[in-house]
Structures are given as C-alpha cells and as structure tokens.
C-alpha cells in the first residue's frame, strides 16, 4: 500500500481513516514520521478555533428556546410579506410618478397655503406642475434596501403602512379606448407614430401610514443627521395616499412588463441601453392625491427633507419659499449627473431632464395637463424624439 498523504494523516487525527489505512499507519515508520508535523499544525489551528465548539458563558440562560423562536419567525414572515408588497408598489415603474409625490410629501404640506385652509379638515395635494430639485445623492445612496439603514426603513414602512388597495397585475390593452376603459381616464396617444405602442395598464393603489416619530427620528440619527430633529406634532399623524391607475405606452423594442407586477422598466446599464436603444415609453397618470392632517407642522419637515438631500439650512429655506408645495410634483435629480430645462409642449411648460452618461445616456420629458401627469422617457441622447412625440399629442 502507498504511504498516506498529508491529507489522509489529517483525517486520521479526526478518526476518519478507514481500517486498512489505519493498519498501514500503525506499521509504517515513514508515515509515522510525518504525523507529528501534521498534528502540530492541526493543534495550533484547533487551539484558535476551538471556541467554535464551546458554549459561551451564561449562554444557556439567554438562549432563545425553539417555541418562542418559532413565534418570532412567524412574525418576521408577516413583516417580510408586507415589506415585499410595499416594495412592489414602490418598485413599479408605472407608478414612479406617484411615488415621487410621496417622497416629496413631507415637503408638499409644509408651507402656509395648506395651513391657511382654516376650516378644512385635511390638506390635499394635487399635482399641477413639475419642479426639479438637484440633489447630492451621496447621502442617499446608503438608503438602498441592502444596507442596515435601508432594512430599518423597510421595517418602519412595513409596520406603519396599511395598503388599502393593492395594485394588482398589469393588464395589456389593444387600443387607447380599451386602456381608457381599464384605467378610468381618457388616455391620449401621439398621432403619426411609425409603430403602434404596446399598452399596459397598471391598476390603482391606495395606502396610508401612521407616523411613528420616535422610530423615524432614530433612523435620522443613525444616518448621521442628529442635527435634524423631527417635530413632536408629527407623531401619530395619518397620511393617506391614493395613486390612480396609470397607462404606459411602449414604442419600439422595449423590455416586456415584468410578471411580478412591474410595468415596462428600462434598466439603464450599457448592454440594455444598446438593446433597447429605440424604446420610448410614454406614461400617463392622473395626479395622485395625498391627505394629511393640517395640524402637523410640515414646514419644518420639508426643510429637514431638503437638508437630508444635502442642502444647507439656508438653501433649504430659500428653496422651499420658491415652490408652491400644494400643487408641485418635485422631482429630485442627481446634482452634476443630470441637467434639466424647460420646454413648451402640449400647450404647457414641461421639464426635460437628461442624464448625459457616456455609456448609457437617458432622458425624460415630464409635463402636467388637465390634472394628468405625462412622462416620456427613453435611452440615448436623442431627446428630440420625446419633444416630437409630445408635440404630436392630440
């Protein structure tokens, strides 16, 4: 029989050799001579690693027994389901406009016009125009779902958000008329297009959330913004959000709507950018509405939100003075990575946002007409397509 390898000698030390090998080792001086070096190496590593097999002191008393653990598992499972549902709503491309409205909700109710509705029970937000706010995204990048902070935000939302109407699966429609019927508003499509669009209707959604001030403040603290203090009046405020049905019209070779409830979604990386270079999506959605108790002092909140995006207190104050928060959809765009300009389209003033990134430039044209928000977005730098399309609206 051949001499044992070092690996076999290592297995011997764990009592994992077969009988024949053990017998060989007993009678073989060559293998015996190799054993001490292997044993030494194993012992040295074992000494350092042996705490992995020893129960820590006081371990038993703090240990979570199986049944309580199972109870915790079940409640985590429920939390997870709700977070997923919330993410699904948030992740939906067709609803992103409504979501942007929610993001700026804190800002939207901050200013005096809302509070001046003395006799009114609730403040009400309806989009009439679009404003763009350039923000420093470095402070926000830590908010993705994988970071510890992102997870906590997810948990905070899942425990305080009640979804009152689920969006359901997107449905395709054969014509503008059918889409109008499904969506409940008159869908407008530009004339004189070379190809017919793929129409997808995403159902309406509604949810409400109750603000837990302590937890929200803890998150602000944790994100390094201890200087930003949420007003006490915020605690317990209920905010209702209604997002109407939306319609996406996809022109050209566009990604298929995902089956998990998301609308057509342009992934902006390089290869997809080339693959879907001629894809242009026109989305339209009646203004989402957001209700909030008028006694909440949201002016402070707005400025806190703006400071969170990287503004100084003075800049935040100046910005908030220049926007009519009760009727503006405020779109945050990354500072230095995107440009915007006002353009005249569809009889109103629209905003054209462009991201001139080398490998995957993209553009979006957004405007509001008769209470409906329109957005045309595409990959590439040929934003003239969007303008032409908007000008061809009936």
């Amino acid at each position: 029989m051949k001499h044992l390898t070092d690996g076999q000698l290592r297995a011997y030390l764990d009592g994992e050799l077969d009988e024949e090998q053990k017998e060989h080792l007993t009678g073989c001086p060559v293998c015996q001579a190799n054993l001490p070096a292997i044993r030494g190496a194993t012992l040295r590593a074992g000494q350092k690693l042996n705490f992995l097999s020893i129960q820590p002191e006081g371990g038993k008393s703090k240990e979570l027994a199986p049944y309580p653990a199972l109870a915790r598992f079940k409640s985590r499972l429920i939390d997870k389901k709700e977070t997923t549902m919330f993410k699904k709503i948030l992740g939906s491309r067709a609803l992103w406009i409504g979501v942007a409205a929610v993001i700026v909700l804190v800002v939207a109710f901050s200013v005096s016009p809302v509070r001046s509705f003395a006799g009114q029970f609730l403040g009400l937000f309806r989009v009439q125009q679009v404003s763009v706010i350039p923000i420093d995204t470095t402070g926000i990048s830590q908010l993705n779902g994988d970071s510890a902070l992102g997870k906590q935000i997810g948990q905070l939302l899942s425990s305080s958000v009640k979804i009152t109407q689920k969006p359901g699966q997107p449905q395709s429609a054969a014509s503008a008329e059918e889409a109008s019927q499904l969506a409940g508003f008159t869908v407008r499509l530009p004339g004189a297009q070379a190809v017919a669009p793929q129409l997808t209707v995403q159902g309406s959604t509604a949810f409400s959330f109750v603000v837990d001030r302590a937890r929200a403040q803890a998150l602000l603290d944790e994100s390094g913004h201890k200087d930003l203090v949420l007003p006490a009046s915020l605690n317990g405020a209920t905010i209702d959000v209604n997002i109407p049905a939306s319609v996406a019209a996809a022109y050209g070779n566009c990604p298929k709507p995902d089956t998990n409830g998301e609308g057509p979604n342009l992934k902006m990386n390089g290869s997809a950018g080339r693959r879907y270079a001629d894809c242009v999506i026109l989305a339209q959605i009646p203004s989402p509405t957001v209700n909030t108790p008028p006694d909440v002092n949201l002016e402070q909140l707005a400025e806190i939100g703006l400071q969170f995006t990287g503004m100084t207190p003075e800049q935040a104050h100046a910005f908030s003075q220049n926007v009519d928060w009760t009727s503006s959809l405020v779109i945050p765009i990354p500072k230095n990575a995107a440009t915007y300009q006002q353009v005249n389209v569809d009889g109103v003033t629209g905003t054209l946002i462009q991201r001139p990134v080398d490998d995957a430039p993209e553009y979006a044209l957004i405007w509001v007409k008769n209470g409906v928000i329109y957005a045309i977005s595409g990959l590439g730098s040929d934003s003239a397509k969007a303008i032409d399309m908007a000008k061809a609206m009936p």
Partner: protein, 176 residues
Amino acid sequence: MHAEEISQSFEATFLEHWPRVYGFLLRLVGDHAEAEDLALETFMRLYQRPPSNDQPLNVGGWLHRVAANLGLNAIRSWKRRQRYELETGARALTGAPANSPAELFTTEEEHRLVRQILSQMNPRQSQLLILRHSGMAYREIAEALGLSATSLGPLLLRAETEFERRYRLANPEEEV
C-alpha cells in the same frame, strides 16, 4: 399572510434544528441578538428558497452551510467597526516584549481576530473550518458542502495551513 399558513412539516423542522443552528451561530458570531437574527434569517431562506427536491435533502447540513455563510457575511460587515479595535490590539502586540504577547490578548480579542480572519479567507475554506471545528463529523460536512468525505482531510489541512499563515501575518510576534 397568516402565521398558521406555515406547514406542520416546516414547523417540525424548525423546532428540531433551531437549537443547533442558533448555538452554532452564537459561537460563530459571539452575540446573542445577532445570532438570533441570523438564525431566523437562515430559516427564512429555507422557507423561501427550499433546496431542490431532486435529491433527498440533508436539512441540517443545508441549514449549517447557509448559517455559516450568513455568519461570515455578518462578521465581514463588522470589519469597519472593528478595524480600530484590531489595530489597537496589534499595536499592543508589536510593542510588547516577545515573551509575553499572548497575555496581552484577552480571549475575547483573540476570538474577534479569529472571526475576522475567517471572514477574509476563501469562503469555502472558512466554511470547512467552521463546520469542522464546531464539531460536525466528516459525513455531515461532506453532505452540507457537497463534497466527498475522503476529500475533507486534504482540504482541511490546506484550510488550516492558510488560517495559520493569516494568523501569523496578523500577529507576527506570537508563537502560534
């Protein structure tokens, strides 16, 4: 989603394996709250992405492999938090007389260093070290990691040698 939708067989699996998985993670990460969080996540993975049914499943081995991965990830994410502490420990060592460095390292500090080394090693090697040194038999490890039991001796020896090399690098003064 209602809690009672969890199947009875899943519940039985949970109750049977919880103590071992939890204990394993507790020893690996050294913190009760974190071990509990990671153990719950381990079972969540089993619930959401059960391994394929093509072959009979060794649930215990699967859970330990996932738990080891999650534990190593958690340790890796401590890195920034702990770098300062480790550097402080290493400085204390290099500035100390050569005959007594081990005394400077309290047990807990040493465990922390070991965990960090494990988290920096090739994941396959650290999984192997963790599973073996937490007391699993070759057969169990082989099933959990999808290896043949006879390959474990050589792989373990290689992993231990690599561990020792890294330990020496982190602690040049100490006689390992």
